[in-house]
Amino acid sequence: MIKFYAHKILQTADGKLPLDVSFHLEKGQFLSLYGNSGAGKTTLLRILTGLTEAEKSLIEVDGITWDNSEKRIHLPVQQRSIGFVFQDFALFPNLNVRENLEFALQKGKSKKLVDELLDLMELQSLQKSKPQNLSGGQKQRVALARAIIRKPKILLLDEPLSALDDEMRFKLQDYLLKAHQHYQLTTILISHHIPEIFKLSDKVIVLDKGLLVKEGTPAFVFSEEKISSKFKITGEIISIEKSDVIYIVSVLSGNNIVKVIATEDEVFTFQIGQKVLVASKAFNPLIQVIS
């Protein structure tokens, strides 16, 4: 069980911004942090890790106080049971894959664990490679294995999947889920990718400008309940063209462009670049298998 509260003034491009967040997390839960860049997600993880100190804080993990600003308790990073996957992976370039894991292993722990994780992450064949010779997805797996090897109480991931293509991303989500379940971790992931959050997490916290604005299950947090529809996609308006008496609005969703008819009154409120939800209520969309 994790109890977290932190207050810290962030220095952002738009001036000072107070980060003020408090939440609870049960053991074994998978939490995703979602929000615009600059909302304070990375800082929140760093405070939990102990790499950044907050002005006011109260952090308790399984009954042990990690941070308590009133009592001036600040447990050093080294003594917190955490695994951290950095955005740039932070693999040690002087060590090969196996040595990276062995370096992380606690004294007196069996090297079997290294083999077990190399197997789990399918890295056996790469164990002698240096990090700079690995692809993004491989580095990711090494970073994940290295973070898990100490069997931490909390696994923290700072947007590690953002740099990968979709296929790799799906695979790594599976690895992550496998590790989360296999080692019964409590995991906190920063993610911008809503499908990913749905797939992985039990709980989502949405941060905006340093404040917690929404909290709950992914389904609760991401369903805009204004329209109850059967079919909906989100996208961005890329063009609005007049065609006789109606308008054709092109919406880019992923790599697809959807053309939607709109009336003059509706178009009045639209702007190019706006994020929109395209929903259809009365029709049942067809699903065809393409691959």
Binding site: V77, Q78, D88, P93, F103
Partner: protein, 226 residues
């Protein structure tokens, strides 16, 4: 016949200076690279001072400080039985001060160029600052360490003003090659000066070739070592 004593003396001085500076500069450069202390700027200035100060100025102050006629010199002589003017020990101290920036600066920029996340990752894996330094940081700044060692060695070999001020030219004690060349020229022994100068020139040139060669190899193996 050429007297080889100044060559050996120079090599000994440069070697001892380099070893002392390496041990001294690793903690100092680490502190300068990561500290946010307000004392950082004045200390950086002190470290860099020998770069801009005429060597004779540094030599002059050391001469005054170490002189047995003054309090500090008297104190050293009475308590430690140590005389630092016109002795080899004095040359070592002067060289350490004079070559300090040549060791500290490469190490400091080596530390600074490493991604901070490497250090932080080692911390999150429960490793102490010392272990992180020896197992992760230093092995990843090998080329900076090599540059520091070579620059310090070469700079100590080449120093003249400081040595002349504080060491003079006592054969076998303080008469290093650069001083020997000067003496030979004064005595119109151009042949001897030529030999000393030739040896210094080729030695320095070979060392630099070696450094660039090895550094290029390092950066091929490990792009962080650039």
């Amino acid at each position: 016949m050429i007297d080889f004593a100044p060559l050996w003396l120079t090599a000994e001085l440069a070697l001892i200076t380099t070893v002392i500076l390496l041990a001294l500069s690793i903690p100092l450069a680490y502190w300068l690279a990561y500290s946010k202390s307000r004392f950082k700027a004045p200390i950086e200035a002190v470290v860099s001072l020998p770069l801009v100060l005429p060597p004779t100025v540094l030599g002059f102050y050391l001469l005054v400080a170490f002189s047995p006629q003054n309090e500090f010199g008297k104190f050293l002589e009475n308590i430690f039985d140590l005389r630092l003017v016109f002795t080899f020990e004095g040359l070592i101290i002067a060289s350490v001060l004079y070559s300090l920036p040549f060791m500290v600066h490469p190490l400091q920029s080596g530390f600074k160029n490493l991604p901070v996340s490497l250090k932080e990752a080692a911390f999150t894996l429960g490793k102490s600052k010392f272990k992180t330094l020896t197992k992760i940081l230093l092995p990843n700044i090998k080329s900076s360490i090599l540059t520091g060692i070579v620059l310090t060695f070469a700079h100590t070999v080449g120093e003249f003003g400081v040595v002349l001020m504080i060491g003079g030219s006592i054969p076998g004690e303080t008469r290093v090659v650069s001083i020997a060349i000067y003496d030979e020229v004064q005595a119109m022994n151009y042949d001897a000066a030529n030999v000393y100068a030739g040896i210094l020139f080729s030695f320095t040139f070979l060392i630099l070739i070696g450094v660039y060669f090895i550094n290029n190899k390092f950066s091929k193996i490990n792009p962080l070592n650039d």
